[in-house]
């Protein structure tokens, strides 16, 4: 058992957990934030993607102890108290989700790719390639790609307006 402390969605949290506890278990079971999902055992599906210190990681392939001292962002912390983040809004607008199970990971991966490439700098091919680590069985990806492109472009517009 070790004490693990982190800033989770802006809030300092800590708990004593078995060292084998995965980050996703810490988030889901210890902190009861169940928006982050587990869809495979081998790090392919991406349903568990969260951000650790601003970067997308697979929380099923990281120990909670590895995130000790880090800032962790999950789907629950993405938008403010009300409303939707532009990426979440775009997924809704473009019907980029059906059963919703892969959705939190998709949204967190989308945010990561927009952060890395810069808003407005994503084309279809780049988005499809960037989604290599996220599997969806419902949507055929068509509307997910459209949603991410729309969100990226909209966020570029927002960034421009803010300047």
């Amino acid at each position: 058992m070790s004490k693990v402390s982190m800033v989770l969605n802006g809030k300092a949290v800590s708990a004593d957990v078995e060292d084998r506890t995965l980050l996703v278990s810490f988030i889901r079971e210890v902190r009861q934030l169940t928006g982050t999902h587990v869809g495979c055992d081998t790090s392919q599906c991406g349903a568990c993607v969260v951000h650790v210190d601003g970067k997308a990681v697979k929380s099923c392939t990281m120990l909670a102890a590895q995130a000790d001292g880090a800032e962790v962002l999950t789907i629950e912390g993405l938008a403010g108290d009300s409303g939707l983040h532009p990426i979440q809004a775009a997924f809704r607008e473009h019907h980029g989700l059906q059963c919703g199970f892969c959705t939190p990971g998709m949204v967190m991966s989308a945010l990561d790719m927009i952060n890395r490439h810069g808003p407005g700098n994503l084309d279809e091919q780049t988005i499809r390639h960037e989604l290599e680590g996220n599997i969806c069985r419902c949507t055929g990806y068509h509307n997910i790609v459209k949603a991410i492109k729309a969100a990226s472009d909209q966020m570029a517009g927002m960034a421009q307006a803010a300047e």
Binding site: S43, D112, E132
Partner: protein, 266 residues
């Protein structure tokens, strides 16, 4: 996953001590292969020594004619490095194609080469560029470092500290991914050095991990062009054969990827 004890090392000496004290310890260098293996209960280390937070093992720097990459540097950082992109574009391409974006944020070069998965990408770059591996005990040439499938020259308590890549005149990597895992079914790293020597290193296809293709190296040294290797058919007797592809098909992929890598290198 079986229960284990997690330790975070602050220095190389720290890490070696923690491992030595452990009953059956393993270094955790990103964990993108080790943790899934532990989750499937195929590995059960008593202790995990996290070496990714050791300052000496991080970062990318130029030393003379070499690019030195700290062993705890994640793939994403190598792929995005302006220095790597300008001096060793093939290495940047390779790092940017490992796993997926989230895996690249966690997985490290040291972890990848210490595991020496026969389908991993980095071994091709190390052998292709004639890199040297500095460990907590010594410095080894890449070809002496990789012994065979999942096997390296590392002792149990030996840590990879950094990898030094001689800057090449031209370099490129072309990979044909397994459609399921996206690991390499055949990944070919080609490099031409300032002295005119050429290396062709192949990962994913060989039964014993990374290997060089002498015939292609000779042909490319004489004529650096895709056509020089395009018609070359390789002996498939030492190639991997599995549910994803036969040895014969992998041999073909090696030729095609070599051709494409040379074309990409320009």
């Amino acid at each position: 996953m079986y229960e284990t004890n997690y330790h975070r090392a602050g220095s190389v000496a720290d890490a070696v001590r923690m491992l030595t004290e452990a009953e059956d310890g393993k270094f955790l260098a990103g964990g993108q292969t080790l943790l899934p293996t532990m989750k499937q209960r195929l590995a059960a280390p008593s202790d995990l020594v996290d070496i990714t937070k050791i300052p000496d093992m991080k970062g990318i720097r130029e030393e003379g004619n070499q690019i030195v990459i700290g062993a705890a540097t994640p793939h994403a950082e190598v792929a995005a490095s302006a220095l790597v992109k300008s001096r060793l574009p093939g290495l940047a391409t390779l790092a940017g194609g490992i796993g997926d974006p989230a895996v690249r944020h966690m997985g490290t070069i040291g972890g990848s080469i210490a595991n020496n998965d026969p389908a991993a990408d980095y071994p091709a770059a190390l052998v292709g560029l004639g890199a040297s591996v500095t460990t907590s005990k010594r410095t080894l040439a890449a070809e002496d470092f990789f012994i065979g499938m999942f096997d390296t020259a590392l002792d149990e308590d030996e840590i990879v500290i950094s990898v030094a890549f001689p800057a090449a005149e031209k370099s490129a990597y072309a990979k044909y991914p397994n459609p399921a895992s996206r690991y390499a079914m055949a990944g070919v790293f080609v490099a031409r050095h300032a002295d005119g020597s050429v290396r062709v290193a192949v990962t994913g296809a060989g039964q014993s991990g990374v290997f060089r293709v002498d015939g292609m190296e000779d042909a490319l040294a004489a004529n650096w062009s895709p056509e020089a290797v395009a018609e070359m058919s390789l002996d498939s007797s030492n190639m991997l054969h599995d549910v994803h592809g036969s040895a014969r098909y992998r041999a073909n992929l090696v030729t095609v990827m070599a051709k494409r890598a040379v074309a990409a290198a320009g």
